[in-house]
């Protein structure tokens, strides 16, 4: 029973941020970071142009980004990835719209 309660608690803990406002919560400022960091070198693609799995692959391999080392500080990288995935063509913030 206690184990069940803990599991439920953990589930609520992790589920809550993801369900805020009926969508996947993206860190504040992530969109601005995306525009600034990606836009420094190339045209900023809208999140809708890729699927979640594609954005994840791109953001997991920034050290070889179109042949360029585009490594970012981890927090910036994670914020941008969250924004892109949340709003991807098959992302949680897109699907039900």
């Amino acid at each position: 029973m206690a184990r069940f309660a803990m599991a439920l608690g953990a589930l609520l803990l992790f589920a809550r941020p993801a369900l805020a406002d009926g969508g996947f919560q993206v860190p504040a400022g992530a969109e601005a970071e995306t525009i600034q960091e990606c836009g420094a070198c190339h045209t900023v693609l809208r999140p809708l142009t890729h699927k979640m799995i594609e954005w994840r692959a791109i953001m997991d391999d920034l050290s070889d980004h179109m042949g360029e080392d585009a490594t970012l500080p981890e927090k910036t990288r994670a914020d941008i990835e969250a924004y892109l995935i949340a709003n991807a063509s098959d992302g949680p913030n897109t699907r039900h719209q």
């Binding site: 190339h42 045209t43 360029e68």
Partner: protein, 138 residues
């Protein structure tokens, strides 16, 4: 007329002063100087001439598409450059882009990235200080 000339002179003087005495840029250069002296205790001062030579030279070791800083930034530091993906880059000359070299995180990020791309290695503190000194005088 006299007033207009006086204002123009004052404006030029103030921008020149701003270019050479920005406290944030001075702090970045001071930190690089500390590192440079750790690398070589006899090191005394950064050189705009050495910075220009590094900036304008063709290098090997990096990506073949980008042998020089000038591949993207052009040979004129007061001109706009362009990334390989065609995004404009504001002039590197401090006279044209006064906030150049005033944000330590931005300076670090771009020296790491671009030294790897052009030279295939990280730049030394001396190289970074020389380049900043060169572009601060442009």
């Amino acid at each position: 007329m006299k007033l207009r000339v006086a204002l123009a002179v004052a404006f030029i003087a103030s921008t020149a002063a701003a270019a050479s005495t920005n406290p944030a840029r001075d702090a970045i250069l001071a930190a690089l100087m500390t590192q440079a002296k750790q690398e070589d205790p006899t090191f005394t001062s950064f050189s705009a001439d050495r910075g220009a030579a590094l900036w304008l030279a063709d290098h090997t070791g990096g990506k073949v598409e980008t042998p020089s800083c000038t591949t993207c930034h052009t040979k004129d530091p007061t001109a706009w450059g362009q990334t390989r993906a065609l995004k404009p880059i504001a002039p590197m000359a401090v006279s044209r882009t006064p906030d150049r070299f005033t944000d330590p995180a931005k300076v670090d990020k771009w020296f790491v990235r671009n030294c790897k791309t052009v030279l295939g290695r990280l730049c030394t503190a001396v190289e970074k200080g020389d380049v900043i000194t060169y572009l601060s005088g442009k």
